[in-house]
């Protein structure tokens, strides 16, 4: 008999050890899966985890991709995690990301082809404001009418996607684009381009912003009363009210912050790696960031690592499909296993396992 016994308090050691255990378990069971479909497990796992960083031929291309992919995931997930800590479930970051990109790009393109160093900062502010405003819709509705932010923020993703389709073939369409939908290329306009800060690293302004967000979020949650109030609201809503935390202000702060960060992530993407507003700009970062936030245990440092790990499995997964010809579904399954084990072994942080002494019948 295996029994779970609740620990008096969460184990610190297991909080750190569970992600490592989960990765090992994923490697074992993923390896079994790969060998069942006729691929060498060692090779598959090496291709996913090792080759993107160290393969003599491919690493030069895929290593910078790690930061390019992890940057927006981390930036969005940090914003989401702060809301999740307070029990505010914003799952519409994808919409806030798209609207941020549209607003930022729109602000820049309105000034095209002016040449000024102030344009990119202006666009960043416009992007953040766009994402913030989009998140304020579920926030205000929740504060005023008690609507469910999960549903409202999610539905606004679909609204944002349709807006994106509309503007990329309408108001923001490149006049010199010969009728193709999509805006001017912002990464090729010197005033708006968000280039790599250090060549061949993938490190652009958005990645830097994500790292800064990690540090600020850590300070907020551990040192600042606002962060304390947020954690308190999530842990014990009634105790938070007793302490004097205003639920409405917490909702506005958390959704607004997540929206602004997602909006900035969208802006950095559209001025950098994506380059233009187009119908398929929405890449799912806003949804994947939810997973990243939980993988990182809603802790800023955890999110940093989870974002990098997620990015690695994406890049490594693509590489494995290319080099080993494994089906895409097997990669998704592999990523699913990683999530499953990460969330599953989390039980060890709060419970200890007792393997039964023989029971009296």
């Amino acid at each position: 008999m295996i029994q779970l016994e609740k620990r008096p308090q969460p184990s610190k050691a297991w909080t750190v050890a569970t992600p490592i255990l989960a990765v090992i378990l994923t490697m074992i069971f993923g390896g079994i899966m790969f060998s069942l479909i006729g691929t060498s497990p060692v090779e598959a796992i090496r291709t996913i985890f090792w080759d993107p960083l160290f393969h003599p031929q491919f690493a030069g291309f895929s290593r910078p991709q790690l930061l390019v992919k992890a940057g927006p995931l981390i930036l969005i997930a940090i914003g989401l995690s702060i809301g999740f800590r307070a029990g505010i479930w914003n799952i519409g970051a994808e919409g806030q990301y798209i609207i941020g990109a549209i607003c930022g790009a729109g602000a820049g393109l309105a000034l095209y082809p002016m040449d000024s160093a102030l344009i990119l900062p202006l666009m960043i502010v416009a992007g953040a404001l766009g994402g913030w405003a989009w998140a304020m819709i579920p926030a205000m509705l929740k504060v005023k009418f008690g609507t469910n932010e999960i549903l409202v923020s999610l539905m606004l993703v679909y609204v944002a996607e349709n807006l994106l389709a509309s503007v990329s073939s309408g108001i923001l369409r490149n006049p010199e684009g010969m009728g193709f939908p999509g805006s001017r290329n912002l990464s090729q306009w010197s005033s708006s381009q968000n280039l790599e800060l250090i060549p061949n690293t993938g490190m652009h302004l958005g990645v830097l912003t994500a790292f800064i967000a990690v540090i600020l979020a850590y300070v907020l949650l551990t040192r600042h009363i606002q962060g304390f109030n947020i954690r308190l609201t999530g842990e014990a809503p009634r105790a938070a009210k007793f302490a004097g935390v205003s639920p409405a202000r917490t909702i506005l702060f958390c959704l607004g912050l997540a929206g602004a960060l997602a909006g900035m992530a969208g802006l950095f993407e559209v001025t950098g790696p994506a380059g233009q507003i187009s119908i398929d700009f929405g890449s799912g970062y806003g949804f994947t960031a939810i997973i990243v936030a939980f993988l990182g245990r809603l802790h800023p440092v955890g999110i940093l690592l989870a974002g990098l790990l997620m990015a690695l499995t994406y890049i490594g997964g693509e590489l494995a499909q290319l080099m080993l010809g494994v089906p895409g579904a097997s990669i998704q399954l592999f990523q699913g296993m990683l999530l499953f084990f990460l969330l599953g072994v989390d039980v060890l942080t709060n419970y200890r396992v007792r393997i039964g002494k023989g029971e009296l019948a």
Partner: protein
């Protein structure tokens, strides 16, 4: 030995860092009421959980009527004839009495039969209860009857009762005792846990005293004094709160025609509550649970704001202020529910200190928390109020109920409030600690603070309050000096709409 119903020998249970029960052995005889005494954290809960199959002992054995008894889960215990009434009721507000009873049974009979059985049992044992009433509308005493009847329907040989009288009026206690004596006369043994030593003297045949997980004494309660039993529990003598005599000063808190709609489907609206609280005075509000105590606390703490002009602190209208501003004005409160309301269960004691003391103790500066200062404040509280904990880093939920109570009351007292409102300050706290908390409240009053104690423990109110009032369905009775009251009058002040007649049965 046919005389012994349940024999415990050498029961031991250890949790990480603490031995909850260490080699505990005693016998419960057929048809006796056996008291289990001990301070908070002495191991009473763990022991009864082992008997009820919720926890498995590490060592030791039990025999029930001579046969080995090792229940692996509560249903096994119930099958063997052991039933338990918990301190916290496990009832669903939205379901009716019969449905709640059915949920706790292994094989509930059809509804019609069950309702008939409930009526029979309730008449036999003088516990008036209508099977079709919704539980949400019942008083605490009536809810307890649901739990008791649920146990009695299974015809137990041993009934375990954990702090059964803490939520009852004096009249309800009398009804309960009558029931318990009747059960005893019919041969049912009862294991009775309580902190109220006078009750134990009146009711119980034998008592076993636990201290720090070990059995330290046995006694015959009727032949010993409450004080002697309390000293067995704590292993030393302690001081009773010294009565204080201060003349009340200026009015610090004035509540003027305070009304508030019920917060939820099963809440109580507040109706026209008015009173004045003076410096140096201790005011006591009694009343059966669910008559507006929690709602009054919400309104006074600022968690729910009320109409302008209803709450005045030192002449200033604070009715629209939130908890933070009220605390800044020296107006502090401590709600009844420790876990989840007064304290955040998963947060450390240091973090829980910041919860209410952030501003008054200057633990927060320019928005940043000074954790060193917060930790020192938490340590002060722990030291001053003898909170038993390995340290300030421990999560609030890891503390026993009584110890956490000492912490959440101490946290407010240590902030030197001008006005302090406490709800059930010594609920579930052992005699020595309760005396210490009451003494702290009296000391605070003698330093010129105004104190309102809301409690269901009448002895407590009579001991420390200068004036007494009762809450009934959200109304406050006239306030009377405690010196002029007797138990009967108090019961009438509290009674009102709740029918306490033992003979009356709703059909």
């Amino acid at each position: 030995m046919p005389d012994d119903l349940l024999r415990l020998s050498g029961l031991t249970k250890a949790y990480p860092g603490v031995v909850a029960n260490d080699d505990v052995s005693f016998d419960i005889r057929e048809g006796e009421i056996h008291a289990l005494l001990g301070e908070n954290g002495a191991g009473k809960s763990t022991l009864v959980k082992m008997i009820y199959g919720l926890v498995k002992p590490d060592k030791g054995t039990m025999t029930l009527r001579g046969a080995p008894y090792a229940p692996s889960e509560p249903s096994a215990a119930r099958t063997s004839g052991v039933a338990m009434v918990f301190q916290h009721f496990s009832l669903f507000d939205a379901l009716d009495v019969a449905e709640n009873v059915a949920l706790g049974m292994e094989n509930p009979p059809p509804r019609h039969d069950l309702a008939r059985q409930i009526r029979e049992v309730s008449e036999t044992y003088g516990l008036p209860l209508d099977p079709s009433r919704t539980v949400g509308t019942l008083s605490a005493g009536e809810r307890q009857r649901v739990e008791i009847i649920r146990c009695l329907l299974q015809d137990p040989k041993l009934l375990i009762m954990d702090e059964p009288t803490s939520v009852l009026t004096p009249q309800e206690v009398e009804i309960l005792f009558k029931t318990l004596r009747q059960l005893k006369a019919e041969g049912t043994a009862i294991l009775y846990i309580s902190h109220k030593l006078e009750e134990i003297r009146a009711l119980c045949d034998h008592a076993t005293v636990l201290r720090l997980g070990k059995k330290v004494a046995t006694c015959t309660p009727a032949e010993t004094t409450a004080r002697a039993m309390a000293e067995m529990m704590i292993g030393s003598s302690f001081a009773s709160p010294a009565a204080k005599h201060t003349t009340p000063g200026e009015v610090l808190l004035r509540v003027d025609n305070l009304a508030m709609p019920a917060p939820g489907a099963f809440g109580t609206p507040l109706r026209g509550i008015s009173f004045e609280l003076r410096a140096g005075e201790v005011l006591g509000f009694g009343g059966v649970a669910g008559n507006g105590q929690d709602e009054l606390l919400l309104a006074l703490s600022g968690e729910r704001t009320t109409k302008r002009g209803t709450i005045w602190v030192k002449g200033a209208d604070v009715s629209r202020d939130g908890p933070v501003d009220r605390r800044a004005a020296g107006f502090l409160t401590a709600p009844e529910e420790r876990l989840g309301h007064a304290a955040a269960p998963n947060m450390s004691l240091t973090e829980n200190a910041v919860l209410t003391a952030g501003r008054r103790q200057r633990l927060v500066k320019k928005g940043f928390i000074n954790w060193g200062r917060a930790d020192r404040f938490a340590q002060d509280v722990i030291k001053r109020f003898d909170v038993r904990t390995p340290g300030t880093h421990v999560a609030a939920r890891a503390l026993s109920g009584g110890n956490l109570q000492k912490f959440v009351i101490g946290r407010e007292v240590a902030q030197n409030p001008d006005i302090l409102i406490v709800n059930q300050p010594t609920w579930g706290v052992d005699a020595a600690a309760a005396a210490a908390i009451r003494q702290a409240l009296l000391d605070l009053a003698s330093q010129g603070a105004a104190i309102l104690v809301v409690s269901q423990d009448l002895d407590e109110l009579l001991e420390i309050a200068d004036r007494f009032g009762a809450l009934n369905e959200g109304r406050l009775s006239a306030l009377k000096p405690v010196a002029q009251l007797n138990m009967e009058e108090i019961g009438l002040m509290m009674g009102g709409a709740h029918d306490m007649e033992a003979t009356h049965v709703d059909a």
